[in-house]
């Protein structure tokens, strides 16, 4: 475990070295959702509530997206893809550490300071949005930590699977684009899932995406029951097991296939 902690610390130091780049990423994640509260407030008009969300909850929903994303998102597919294409992955095969564990803890180190900066930005925006900010303290908030852990691990596994495609093709941006296109809708980036037609909600409910963003935010907004949280957690753990096995299988097949040229 000590070696993974060292990877964590090294990546955290690297992220803090390039503070400007990191801050720009976080500001971009806020900008991405900045227009949506205005659009939805216009849609609401004189309506007090739509699909169980009042205006304050809608604004808070979008303001929480960058914070939850900072905690749980994973972009390890880019790193894995580049390391496979450039042959750098071969250097890790000879090291006494698991490549995927190294990737997980490395990315955690890289992202360690992002949640704090996201919260600072949210606090800076608070004077402008306090009339629309909705936050209550309730007992179900204790479920937030296990849900965020499951969400983080699930995002990492899915992102790693996408990165593994590079073992078989050098042109694999399409895999990232498909994942992002589906996730943008199915995780609730554009609107709470309750706003989608019921047949689309039903399809999405079978996917692993709701727990990656929608469920943590719903817990904070207190729009989800304990039974639903437990159900989603159980579903998340099953998806981790299924996708985790797929990831291991892809890794083993990919490693057999890979060849280092000019190493």
């Amino acid at each position: 475990m000590g070696k993974y902690l060292a990877v964590f610390k090294t990546n955290m130091q690297a992220a803090l070295t390039y503070r400007g780049e990191m801050t720009l990423w976080i500001i971009t994640s806020f900008l991405w959702v900045a227009v949506l509260p205005f659009v939805w407030l216009t849609v609401y008009g004189s309506q007090e509530s739509i699909a169980g969300f009042n205006k304050s909850m809608m604004v808070t929903y979008f303001m929480l997206i960058p914070v939850i994303e900072a905690l749980t998102s994973s972009w390890i597919d880019f790193t894995i893809r580049d390391e496979i294409k450039e042959g750098k992955i071969n250097a890790f095969l000879t090291k006494p550490m698991n490549y995927l564990y190294k990737g997980f803890w490395g990315e955690n180190g890289w992202k360690a300071s992002r949640p704090f900066v996201s919260v600072l930005i949210l606090l800076a925006l608070y004077p402008f949005i306090h009339n629309y900010f909705y936050l209550t303290f309730h007992i179900r908030l204790i479920w937030l930590i296990p849900v965020l852990v499951v969400s983080r691990i699930l995002n990492f596994i899915i992102s790693s699977i996408i990165g593994m495609v590079a073992f078989w093709t050098t042109r694999n941006n399409w895999a990232t684009q498909i994942w992002w296109a589906i996730q943008t809708v199915a995780a609730g980036y554009l609107a709470p899932l309750a706003f989608f037609p019921s047949h689309i909600q039903k399809i999405i409910s079978f996917t692993p995406f709701p727990i990656t963003l929608q469920i943590p935010i719903n817990i904070i907004l207190n729009t989800v029951s304990t039974d639903q949280i437990v159900w989603e957690l159980g579903k998340g753990v099953i998806w981790i097991l299924v996708l985790g096995l797929l990831l291991i299988a892809l890794w083993k097949k990919g490693i057999k296939k890979t060849e280092g040229i000019g190493m």
């Binding site: 780049e21 900008l31 227009v35 205005f38 739509i50 296109a181």
Partner: protein, 262 residues
């Protein structure tokens, strides 16, 4: 001028060669583009499932706005997109020296060196959808509004170019800001929605500091009669001013550039 046209012809030929090498990639990219369009249309449907109008724009007009926004973005990507995004790496890796030592404008070379041919398939898709939507719902007030819309779409592409050029020129002084392109791209997504959703002060601030947001709004607003036609002249003037500022800023940066090594 003939020299530059000859050089650009070579760049386009290189782009076609690249396309031929990655034929399946091109087809798949077109398929992915349709998925993205479908996703954007889905969110329009979700919004209009709750209301009949957003800031005075009905569903068909918002669809048109989405398509024009996509068209302008894809046209920019075809001609300039991948090139400007490489400026930060070009400077930090010392590759800029290859451009400034040649007997042509380095800005021309850097801006146009790769023409993304497969973006033209996506442009054609957008034009077909825009044509169908226009025919179905008869948006245009007059032929003049259609002509102004086309001119403003071209202005939109140049506003994109100027905005990205200004942002990337900062990499002469700042290291590791290649994600500035993602930030500008994100701001441009504001243009997918009617800007009337913003309060007046925010709208005015966006017009001054992020005119890229108006790049797609202006053509559709003029086409549908939401903006009077004479406002097109302001957008054309804004485009010219922005391009002049971008080029002057680039020239200012180039004059102060010293290579560490190449």
């Amino acid at each position: 001028m003939k020299k530059y046209l000859r050089i650009y012809k070579v760049f386009v030929e290189n782009g076609i060669s690249f396309l031929v090498q990655y034929r399946h990639d091109t087809i798949f990219n077109l398929f992915m583009h349709l998925i993205w369009l479908g996703m954007m249309f889905l969110i329009v449907e979700v919004l209009f499932g709750q209301t009949n109008a957003i800031a005075g724009w009905n569903k068909q007009e918002v669809y048109m706005l989405t398509l024009v926004w996509t068209l302008i973005g894809e046209t920019y990507i075809a001609f300039f997109g991948g090139n400007l995004a490489e400026i930060p790496d070009t400077i930090t890796d010392g590759k800029l020296d290859n451009f400034i030592t040649k007997p042509v404008s380095p800005l021309f070379m850097i801006s146009t060196k790769f023409f993304l041919v497969r973006a033209t398939y996506r442009i054609i898709t957008e034009l077909i959808l825009i044509g169908w939507l226009s025919w179905q719902f008869d948006f245009a007030d007059s032929l003049l509004s259609v002509i102004c819309c086309v001119v403003l779409i071209l202005c939109g592409v140049m506003i994109y170019y100027a905005s990205f050029l200004i942002a990337n020129t900062f990499s002469f002084w700042l290291l590791r800001i290649d994600n500035i392109n993602d930030a500008i791209d994100t701001v441009s997504t504001f243009g997918r929605y009617p800007v009337g959703v913003f309060p007046f002060t925010i709208r005015a601030s966006i017009f001054v500091f992020a005119p890229i947001v108006f790049a797609s709004y202006a053509p559709v607003a003029v086409l549908t009669g939401k903006w009077p036609i004479y406002l097109s002249l302001f957008i054309i003037a804004l485009t010219i001013i922005l391009c002049i500022i971008a080029i002057k800023f680039w020239n200012f940066a180039i004059k102060r550039y010293t290579s560490a090594s190449s």
